[in-house]
């Protein structure tokens, strides 16, 4: 029988070992049933911990979501015509945000401008497919199609182009570690101003999109949901961002948090890679 310590096996189960070490442990596990059973038990323990913490987080989210109906009546807020056009801002706006604050009365209370949209306002955002197509068309510009598709898939080229057009502070995140592969980036337009769109593919069927535009977007901040599409909006260093996809609220908020701490696209690639790790 081969003696492998729990220290080594836990590091193995946690994915902390170097590749060759992992291979060596794999080999031992193939040959030694006792060690294999121990590794399996540790793996099970690891997985139970993960499930337990997921359940706790799900409980926090569901509790906060449940609190939403007890919110004070919504106040109409000024809304721009902007990113709503791509159909990601409507009902359930800030359920998370408002629920969070509603039940607690904490110093996190939002300013008056960030309030729930009224029912009519929400329904007016839902149109026919033709309406949606026209809205999507309005976002296209020459830049959207002039750049070759191959170039749109080149991460470094896209980072360079976006930094030039949107500004050097723009974040072009690498989300591979989070399970989202960068597919392409393109420039759209809104009210004559460039609007960057970065598309990623994860395990789901729909892509995840990050939009970035010059200027702070005062009308919109936080989480919103429209049908299957959730979105998180925020502003940073004079650039307004919107992250949209069919992922759940927690995933989107986590991704947004990760992006917020990404270095700007204008930083050298080596620094950005290091920081991303």
């Amino acid at each position: 029988m081969t003696e492998l310590s729990d220290e080594l096996l836990v590091a193995y189960v946690d994915g902390q070992l170097a590749r060759d070490q992992t291979r060596a442990v794999d080999k031992v596990l193939d040959q030694d049933d006792v060690v294999a059973r121990r590794a399996e038990a540790l793996k099970q323990a690891h997985s139970r911990f993960e499930c337990a913490f997921e359940a706790i987080l799900a409980g926090e989210v569901s509790e906060l979501m449940t609190n939403a109906p007890s919110l004070p009546p919504p106040v109409r807020r000024r809304r721009g015509n902007g990113l709503a056009k791509i159909g990601v801002i409507t009902a359930g706006l800030g359920l998370g945000l408002f629920a969070l604050v509603a039940g607690y009365g904490w110093p996190l209370a939002l300013s008056e401008r960030a309030t729930l949209p009224q029912a009519g306002e929400m329904s007016s955002a839902i149109g026919t497919w033709q309406d949606e197509a026209v809205r999507a068309q309005s976002l296209l510009s020459r830049d959207s199609v002039e750049v070759a598709a191959e170039s749109q898939g080149n991460f470094d080229l896209v980072a360079l182009q976006m930094a030039q057009v949107i500004g050097p502070a723009v974040k072009i995140p690498d989300l591979e570690a989070q399970g989202f592969k960068f597919m392409r980036g393109q420039l759209l337009r809104f009210e004559g101003e460039p609007l960057a769109q970065l598309l990623y593919l994860g395990g789901g069927t729909a892509p995840l999109a990050l939009y970035a535009r010059r200027g702070e977007d005062e009308a919109r901040d936080g989480f919103a949901k429209s049908g299957a599409i959730g979105s998180v909006a925020w502003s940073d260093d004079g650039i307004a961002y919107l992250l949209a996809g069919e992922e759940d609220m927690v995933t989107l908020l986590r991704l947004a948090e990760k992006i917020r701490h990404e270095p700007p696209a204008a930083e050298p690639a080596s620094t950005r890679k290091l920081s991303a790790n």
Partner: protein
Amino acid sequence: MQAETQHESVRHGLIAMLPRLKGFADVLVGDKRQGRALLRRALKRMLADQHRYQRGTPLDRFAFAEIYRLWLGQLRDHADPLRQAKPSGADFERLLRRGGAPDFDAETASFLGALPPQQRSTLLLVYGEGFAHEDAGLVLDTGPDTIQARLIRACASLADRLGVSSPAPASATVEALYPREATEGP
């Protein structure tokens, strides 16, 4: 103006992270009601002293560390920390049941509930939040080696309890609250 912008950014960042922060406070304290009280105090302090947040520091690491520091400070300030009320296992189980998961794992809940808060928080940060050992160490004011040791003890302990291997210790080793330096010999 710059400070105002940063304040807004910290505030919004905290709002976006609230479910995670609440989960951390609840797990640390082991009880929903007390966790909520701890988080409320921590949030007030973070916003009042938001100048202490340095741009570039991951906000989640900063916020988790603030909650932990406040909890530890309260423990140290307690007139008789040894007599402090200990949350029951049932309190902790309630934290897991709220998620409405059909396959509630009573064994893991009871195991986690019996762990010392520091060890529970370590598990949450690494297995629940995906923190690197170094970052978890920065939050909990300890080194990555201690983080690693806590994970090993907890995993080995639960694995033992699951009955697949050797006889089980009652629970993972209780750790002292003293700083690492004080516990390590020359």
